[in-house]
């Protein structure tokens, strides 16, 4: 980035925060309408009962839990990019990590909705929390669902703090240029950041600490989510490979989502200078790795089902591949394992259209993966008498899923106009130091 200077960085990045145009408002309005639709559907479900969704016995978990796992998965690559790559000093992460981190937080916020939407009595959700009460009623600490509550809330707290910490110097930079409500907001949010050496020292060590703290969470949270399934005795769920398999899958889907979000963002906010093809190439390479891990996991599951000699397990896996929902399984294999292999070809991984298409399809494939594991496994468990393999996807479910996507995008859109989506601080770190004689706009 030879022609970039500190002032240019400030100007270019903070420009993205300027008063938005008409297109932005239309987009926000549409997304808000989508969220409202989702809210209406959820209201209908609460009013009428869970029967308005497509669930039944034996498939008592269906689209909501699938989507929950999907969003938790999306959340993971954000931390991977921001924390793990930070620790490994992967310089190419700099321009993308802020978006990835924001995506993490919003994905967790979206994911967190689904266990509530999924509850038969959503209004009693707080019973899942261990709060002191006079009846001494505590939640069941043996239940993986409770571990889930802890894992997801911990992950949300840490990733939100990590995002915020990294934002502080940038907010301060924005504060110095802003007026009106933005100035008041930034002043409050920058916590009085002045950019002194002591502050920078503390900032650096805190950032390092959070990076180190968040890194194991990437592994642990999705492992815990996978235990929702492995701790059960449902054939197709009860498997020791799930933790690494889910973590790899989470990163796989997270990378795909980062690419899916960044390509339009790059165009929209004219960030071509910061987000170069190289960055996308690195992400694509990482996707090849995670895709191969996921493919390996698929294979191992089948091998173990056969090798264990467990007839229930084998029946479930045969049903998964060749049963009435085999098409979903094969779609998932092609999308998640097949398509990322295209990125072995440099021409393809540098082509934004290919990148975007493959990423979107990987996202679809990862949703299908969770659906196949969760819903399809349940249709074929121990007693054949209760097998029931027809799904009825309802409009309420579709509305809630669509609403949740809108919710996620809306949060991202609002964030992108309020906070810098590319880290000013870290971009500057990568630049040669300016000469002292040059007047610097802003003091960050």
């Amino acid at each position: 980035m030879p022609e970039l200077t500190y002032s240019r960085v400030n100007r270019d990045i903070l420009r993205t925060l300027e008063t938005p145009g008409r297109a932005y408002w239309i987009a926000v309005a549409l997304l808000a309408a989508g969220v409202a639709l989702g809210g209406y559907c959820w209201g209908t479900q609460i009013q009428t009962g869970m029967g308005v969704s497509g669930k039944f016995i034996p498939t008592a978990w269906f689209a909501y839990i699938t989507t929950f796992v999907f969003w938790v998965g999306i959340a993971h690559s954000g931390t991977l990019i921001s924390a793990i790559l930070f620790l490994f000093r992967a310089r190419w992460r700099t321009p993308v990590y802020r978006s990835a981190e924001a995506m993490t937080v919003f994905a967790v916020m979206t994911a967190g909705l689904f266990p509530l939407i999924h509850l038969g009595r959503a209004w009693q959700f707080y019973w899942l929390l261990p709060y002191p009460n006079e009846r001494q009623l505590w939640p069941n600490f043996r239940s993986p669902l409770l571990w889930d509550v802890f894992a997801v809330t911990t992950y949300f707290t840490v990733s939100a703090m990590f995002l915020y910490l990294g934002l502080i110097p940038d907010i301060a930079a924005a504060r110095d240029r802003a007026t009106g409500w933005r100035r008041r907001l930034y002043r409050l949010a920058s916590l009085g950041w002045r950019g002194t050496d002591t502050e920078w020292t503390h900032y650096s060590s805190a950032y390092m600490f959070f990076a180190a703290f968040a890194t194991p969470l990437v592994v642990s949270v999705h492992s815990v989510v996978s235990w929702d399934f492995t701790m059960s005795i449902v054939p197709g769920w009860h498997s020791t490979i799930f933790a690494p398999y889910f973590v790899a899958g989470a990163i796989h889907s997270g990378l795909a989502m980062v690419i899916t979000l960044l390509i339009p963002l790059r165009r929209l906010f004219r960030l071509e200078q910061f987000l170069e093809t190289l960055h996308f190439e690195q992400l694509a390479r990482l996707m090849i790795v995670t895709g191969l891990i996921v493919g390996y996991a698929y294979g191992v599951e089948f091998f173990v089902a056969w090798y264990s000699g467990n007839p229930f397990e084998l029946s479930t896996f045969l049903d998964r591949a060749f049963g009435p929902h085999g098409d979903l399984f094969w779609a998932m294999v092609v999308f998640n394992c097949g398509l990322p292999l295209l990125f072995f070809a440099p021409r393809l991984r540098r082509n934004y259209a290919v990148l975007l298409t493959v990423s979107v399809l990987v996202n679809v494939g990862m949703w299908l993966e969770r659906f196949v594991i969760i819903a399809v496994s349940l249709t074929n468990d121990y007693l054949p008498a209760i097998w029931r393999k027809t799904f009825h996807f309802t409009w309420v479910e579709a509305g809630i899923l669509f609403g949740s996507l809108c919710w996620f995008l809306l949060l991202f859109f609002l964030f992108a106009k309020i906070f810098p989506t590319v880290s000013i601080t870290e971009v500057k770190e990568a630049l040669p130091e300016p000469k002292r004689t040059v007047t610097v706009e802003g003091n960050a």
């Binding site: 008592a60 038969g120 239940s143 701790m231 005795i233 007839p311 054949p384 008498a385 029931r388």
Partner: protein
């Protein structure tokens, strides 16, 4: 002679008579649950009171007890002391409660306006109209024909109606039952000179052969038969009973047989005669040689080869069966049920009688003198005669008393059309059924749970029906007999002498004075009456009345037995069959009967046509396709159900649906096959020809919802329902299957009680009685066909049914005989319950007595427990339950009704455990074994379910649980269920070894 007046005249009469008292409306019924200001001394809130009565859901007449709370019936159960059912009830009996509280009951008397509408009137108006009518008929139109068409009645009730209708110069009472067993009556008359339907001692038989008698479902007295069958099956030693079922479709009864012989429809008589032939030929008959020779001559045409040609059953099998049956001491052959009532039905019954006779079973297992008398029930031929009279305008006034012939007779009989020629039609039905909907005056009677009646199901039993709660609680119904008594006295003062009674109860009591004098003159009458009402009637052992073979049998023409359709063509035999749940259709408006899955097909809320998959392939039909089934007499459209349990040349359609006017739940459930039947009668007996019709089928390009609670029929070699051969059991070589005993957590200690259950799969007949009993006891809601199809049925108990090809069995007529496994599935109350550890809020946990407890209040509805339950017995409340008023009045107040969003499941009837423990505590003792009986076990006719304390080494449940036949379903998962299943016993089937005299 009838031109003197017409229908208009009658209507005018009814209208004018009632306008006079228009203002005098009856007061609103008291609404208070219990008036506490002056509390009644005999009702303590919170305590249950039991009233013994008699089930009137079918003519079998089982003893029933109604449990009432705060003046309302909340549950009915079998009367344990009653000789017929000994405490059990079938699904239909259990659902009687939904007849009582059915929201589609007629609210009060109705009258047809001149415009043809039905308008509500008061009871005063209604009675005034009847009084006017009675006066008119007795004084002005003495030649008018007045008839009462009633269900089967007996004892004092019958006498009452007979006497009452005798006040009209041309009055008559006709008893009508859709299943009137004409062939049994005629066959017995021909063979033994009596039309009595004998008592069949199934329990004593060592070999049972049923020729289309669905005795575990509807035949004669299904609960009684099931009880006896279970008793016989419990003999596991060398005198074990073997059972062979001959019928073209695997009915629930045949599914319980050791061998199912899918003979051609209508060929059963040939098979029975061939058995007689072979037994006589082999010299095994227990007869004098002269008699043997005479009978031999009679059956000379029916050698095993002829029978093979007619029935498809190999001659070898017939000979083996003959050998086995002849050596069984005693054996028992049972004659035709409804499905086998074709043109050869009487021939079949005569053949069955001969078969029993030559083997010496008559007067042993076939007991005349102890049976039931159906003489006064009209045969179908008599009904047709009556219809002819109606059509000719020779019936002026027709009263209906719990009979619905417009629905239950085939349309070809022309009842509905003939009814229009009847000048005045009066119905006492509590429901607006098809017949009542055509009536001019409707005076809703009480349901059997609100009225007085006497019923004599069979010789020696005088059962009482008594009100178990006050009538008129929501519907302004009045007992028909009470109304008639009042009317007849008001109509004519001279009739006060023969009918001096205030109400029917007084009449009944008076009638029983004679009974008292005959039975227990040493007691005071008050004492006798009280004890009879408390016991639900009186019964005594009746002596056998031995019969001898009548000479008429030697003149009997067996040619209908030879007239079997054996050609292969494009026509199918139509098999019309009743089912255990739906009977003749009189329970179709009970939602729980509609939602109870058919025992074999697991279909709910619909009629269906059964096709063999191979037939279906030939016609390009798949499951749920709409079929057009047409006979020369009519045509119906209904969805196809593909099943390997029916012959390739047969289409089987159940009775019981096709109501056009019987309430919301009876509507839109598919057609009735009656529309396909001919108007002919069976020549000898005058019976309705349920069988013998040929039909054609065509696929229509439409699919229909055919909701089933179970879709998969095979257990995929998972050994869920297990079997043990009888030989191994007798040899004592049966050992328990090993199970893991691993645990990370400390074991539950279960101090005090540890509740458990044992379910004997060899006893279970799959009849669904437990399913309905459980649902009624535990306020389980029904959800309708669409939700069942979506997998949201709510039953806490279900009967899983699996089919496997029967080992070593050869296909007969292209059909592979199947071995059926019924597996009652309910919460297993596991020690290591997979559901408990995954619940995040402890809504389900293991209590110290071994119950897996579900706390509805704590449940947030994650449904993880259901996913993790390998038995899938947990039921999630997808919606708020619907209890249309007044059905909610019948809810069990001891069981929490669940809200939407929570999980429910079997509790082992924890409310009953609680009640028994409270009782024991009050009496300062521990709970006795057998004191707690969950609803399912209570009603099981086969006594297959035993509940009790596993900690008590002497308890029945503990002893059964320790049986070598015991195993745990999915025990290999280390769930350690509290329910032990006892393996089904595979009895060697007679036709497997080649005969030594073949």
């Amino acid at each position: 002679m009838n031109d003197a007046f017409n229908r208009r005249e009658f209507l005018k009469l009814v209208t004018i008579a009632s306008t006079g008292t228009l203002a005098a409306c009856s007061p609103a019924p008291p609404q208070k649950v219990i008036p506490y200001v002056i509390p009644p001394e005999d009702v303590v809130p919170g305590l249950s009171y039991w009233f013994k009565t008699t089930c009137r859901e079918c003519p079998a007449g089982c003893g029933m007890m109604a449990r009432t709370r705060e003046g309302r019936v909340v549950k009915v159960e079998g009367n344990p002391e009653h000789p017929i059912n000994r405490g059990a009830l079938c699904a239909r009996g259990q659902a009687a409660l939904q007849g009582l509280y059915n929201p589609d009951r007629i609210a009060g008397p109705l009258r047809r306006t001149p415009e043809g509408r039905l308008e509500p009137i008061t009871w005063e108006q209604a009675e005034d109209a009847l009084v006017a009518l009675f006066r008119f008929l007795r004084q002005e139109r003495r030649n008018a024909t007045v008839a009462l068409l009633t269900e089967r009645i007996s004892g004092a009730t019958e006498k009452f109606f007979r006497d009452l209708f005798a006040v009209f110069p041309a009055g008559q009472v006709i008893q009508y039952e859709p299943f009137a067993y004409e062939a049994l009556r005629a066959g017995n008359r021909i063979a033994f000179g009596t039309s009595e339907i004998p008592h069949y001692d199934i329990a004593a038989a060592r070999m049972l052969v049923s020729f289309g008698a669905d005795f575990l479902e509807t035949w004669l007295s299904n609960v009684e038969c099931a009880r006896a069958f279970a008793d016989a099956r419990r003999r596991h030693e060398r005198d074990a009973m073997r059972f062979v079922a001959v019928e073209p479709r695997l009915s629930l009864t045949a599914a319980n047989a050791d061998a199912w012989l899918p003979a051609r429809p209508g060929s059963e008589a040939a098979l029975a005669l061939a058995l007689v032939y072979e037994i006589l030929r082999s010299g095994r008959a227990r007869l004098s040689s002269t008699e043997a020779a005479r009978i031999g001559q009679l059956v000379a045409n029916f050698d095993a080869e002829t029978a093979e040609r007619l029935t498809d059953v190999p001659a070898e099998t017939i000979r083996a069966l003959a050998r086995e049956f002849a050596t069984a001491d005693p054996g028992l052959a049972l004659g035709p049920g409804v499905a086998a009532s074709g043109p050869a039905a009487t021939a079949l019954q005569v053949a069955v009688n001969l078969l029993n006779y030559v083997c010496g079973n008559v007067n042993r297992t076939v007991q005349f003198g102890r049976g039931s008398n159906w003489d006064r029930v009209a045969t179908h031929a008599e009904m047709l005669e009556f219809i002819e009279r109606m059509r000719a305008g020779r019936v002026d006034v027709l009263f209906f008393h719990h009979a619905n012939p417009v629905y239950a007779l085939p349309p070809t009989a022309g009842f509905a059309r003939a009814l229009q020629r009847v000048r005045l039609k009066v119905s006492f039905s509590p429901f607006l059924d098809e017949t009542t909907a055509q009536c001019d005056l409707i005076l809703p009677d009480h349901t059997p749970l609100e009225r007085w009646e006497e019923y004599q199901p069979r010789a020696g039993i005088r059962a009482l029906v008594q009100p178990t709660m006050a009538g008129g609680f929501h519907f302004q119904s009045r007992q028909a007999a009470d109304v008639l008594l009042r009317v007849v006295r008001r109509a004519d003062a001279t009739l006060s002498r023969p009918f001096p009674f205030e109400n029917f109860r007084a009449y009944l009591e008076n009638e029983w004075r004679a009974v008292h004098r005959a039975v227990a003159p040493e007691q005071s009458f008050a004492e006798f009456w009280r004890s009879a009402v408390e016991a639900g009637g009186i019964w005594r052992e009746v002596p056998l009345r031995p019969v001898r073979l009548s000479d008429a049998v030697f003149r009997f023409d067996f040619s209908p037995a030879l007239a079997v359709h054996t050609e292969r063509d494009e026509s199918f035999a139509l098999l019309v069959f009743p089912t255990a749940e739906r009977f003749d259709g009189r329970g179709a408006n009970r939602p729980w009967l509609q939602e109870t899955p058919d025992a074999m097909t697991k279909i709910v809320w619909s009629a269906w046509a059964e096709l063999h998959p191979e037939t279906a392939r030939r016609y390009g039909v798949s499951e749920g396709d709409l079929l057009k089934v047409s006979s020369p007499h009519g045509e119906i459209q209904l969805p196809a159900h593909l099943t390997p349990t029916v012959r390739l040349d047969t289409v089987a359609i159940p009775l019981g649906q096709g109501h056009t006017s019987f309430g919301r739940w009876a509507a839109d459930c598919g057609p009735t096959p009656l529309a396909l039947l001919s108007a002919d009668v069976e020549a000898t007996s005058g019976g309705l020809l349920y069988g013998g019709t040929r039909v054609r089928i065509a696929r229509l390009p439409v699919r229909r919802l055919l909701a089933r609670t179970q879709l998969e029929t095979s257990q995929h070699e998972r050994e869920i329902a297990r079997v043990v051969p009888l030989a191994e059991l007798v040899a004592g070589s049966v050992r328990r299957d090993p199970e893991p005993r691993l645990s990370l957590y400390p074991e539950h200690t279960h101090d005090g009680h540890r509740w458990g259950m044992a379910i004997d799969l060899d006893a279970c007949i799959g009849c669904n009685a437990c399913v309905v009993a459980c649902s009624i006891e535990n306020n389980v809601p029904w959800v309708g066909a669409l939700q069942v199809d979506r997998g949201r049925h709510m039953t806490w108990m279900r009967i899983d049914r699996y089919w496997e090809p029967a080992p070593e069995a050869q296909p007969i007529g292209g059909v592979t005989p199947l071995e059926t496994h019924f597996l009652p599935m309910l919460c297993q109350h596991c020690d290591h319950a997979p559901c408990e550890s995954v619940c995040p809020v402890y809504a389900t946990y293991h209590n110290h007595e071994g119950l897996n407890v579900q706390v509805y209040n704590r449940c947030v509805g994650t449904r993880y427990c259901s996913n993790n339950c390998p038995y899938k017995v947990r039921r999630f409340h997808w919606f708020d339950d619907q209890w249309p008023w007044p059905l909610a009045l019948g809810l069990n107040p001891d069981v929490t009704a669940r809200t939407k969003g929570v999980m429910g499941k079997c509790t082992f009837c924890v409310q009953r455990i609680r009640a028994a423990k409270d009782q024991a505590k009050d009496e300062n003792r521990t709970v006795r074994d057998g004191e707690i009986i969950p609803a399912c076990a209570q009603t099981c006719p086969a006594d297959a379910i035993v509940f009790g304390d596993l900690n008590d080494p002497n308890s029945r449940v503990r002893q059964l649980s320790d049986s070598p036949r015991g195993y745990h379903v999915l025990g290999e998962l280390n769930t350690r269920p509290a329910i032990t299943y006892l393996k089904k016993i595979r009895r060697s089937v007679p036709d497997r070894h080649p005969g030594e005299d073949g």
